[in-house]
């Protein structure tokens, strides 16, 4: 950590000296931290508070950050711990885990979609807005796994470490989350008239 200046006063010597590297490494992660916070918190306001608290805690502890370490991952760990502490205080923790069986129904879902013509949804509708809306509705344990693996590119093992959960649990949350998202998208495709008869554009082979 560079020490550009040695400001003292308010007992903030270390953090003030660490300001330049904090600005360079941690602040640019605010968008990613916010995304992770959104996957954990129940609503936007809680997510914003959680993201802010995470950056503040990181700033206060910046002197403990090892130069060269993965800053985003460090921030995610702070964010998750902060979230868990708040959750414990609120005394609620819903436990609804899916099984590994979730992997297969996803494919069966696609097989059904092929039969009714909705599998074209990936090419026919603007997926981004529909997916973001579906993500907002996805329950917390599934969202966090989906965000970490699909959004941030972590491996199952890395996501499990960040969420402090067994890797099998994270995998089953990930699969369940993806399946719920696909169900939501397919329902939306049917709502806007994709599929159904499915015969106008050559139809399907089923």
């Amino acid at each position: 950590m560079q020490k550009e200046e040695n400001v003292s006063g308010n007992g903030l010597t270390v953090t003030s000296a660490g300001t330049p590297s904090f600005e360079r490494e941690a602040l640019p992660c605010l968008d990613a931290v916010y995304r992770f916070a959104r996957s954990l918190a129940r609503n936007v306001a809680d997510a914003e508070d959680l993201a802010q608290e995470t950056l503040l805690k990181a700033f206060r502890s910046w002197h403990t950050f090892r130069e060269g370490a993965d800053c985003r991952r460090w921030l995610f760990a702070i964010c998750h711990n902060t979230f868990l502490r708040a959750e414990r205080q609120a005394q609620r923790r819903a436990a609804h885990e899916g099984g590994d069986a979730d992997a297969l129904p996803a494919v069966m879902l696609h097989a059904g979609a092929m039969r009714d013509g909705t599998d074209a949804l990936l090419t026919w509708i603007e997926l981004g807005p529909a997916l973001r809306e579906a993500l907002d509705r996805l329950a917390e344990p599934f969202r966090a796994a989906v965000l970490l693996v699909d959004g941030e590119g972590y491996t199952y093992q890395e996501a499990a470490e960040l969420l402090d959960a067994p890797v099998g649990t994270v995998r089953s949350r990930l699969f369940r989350g993806r399946r719920l998202l696909q169900e939501a998208l397919l329902a939306q495709a049917r709502d806007v008239g994709l599929g159904g008869a499915g015969s106008e554009n050559g139809g399907s082979d089923a």
Binding site: L12, L56, R60, A103, H110
Partner: protein
């Protein structure tokens, strides 16, 4: 799984892990070989690959609101943070 071959159901159970690059060695190779031979499963593979790509994009496009950036900077400043590069 005689001679390392997978049937459709077994291959599809591993599809997401395959796409996530979580499989290694013989299992990864067995799924790859099945997809190469089975056009029905290959169709599922393409669907899932496109879905996961769209999902990743949708996640990463989300940005923290401008107001939050301002709030965080304000809170950090009150703790001694002095920005140097990004703004005055």
């Amino acid at each position: 799984m005689p001679d390392g071959k997978l049937d459709c159901e077994a291959a599809m159970r591993r599809l997401w892990e395959y796409l996530d690059r979580e499989l290694t060695g013989d299992t990864r190779e067995a799924v790859r070989a099945h997809l190469h031979e089975c056009s029905a499963c290959y169709g599922h593979y393409e669907f899932e690959r496109a879905f996961l790509a769209a999902l990743g994009d949708a996640e990463r496009e989300r940005r923290a609101p401008e107001s939050l950036h301002g709030r965080v900077l304000h809170a950090l400043r009150s703790e001694g943070f002095v920005p140097r590069y990004g703004e005055s």
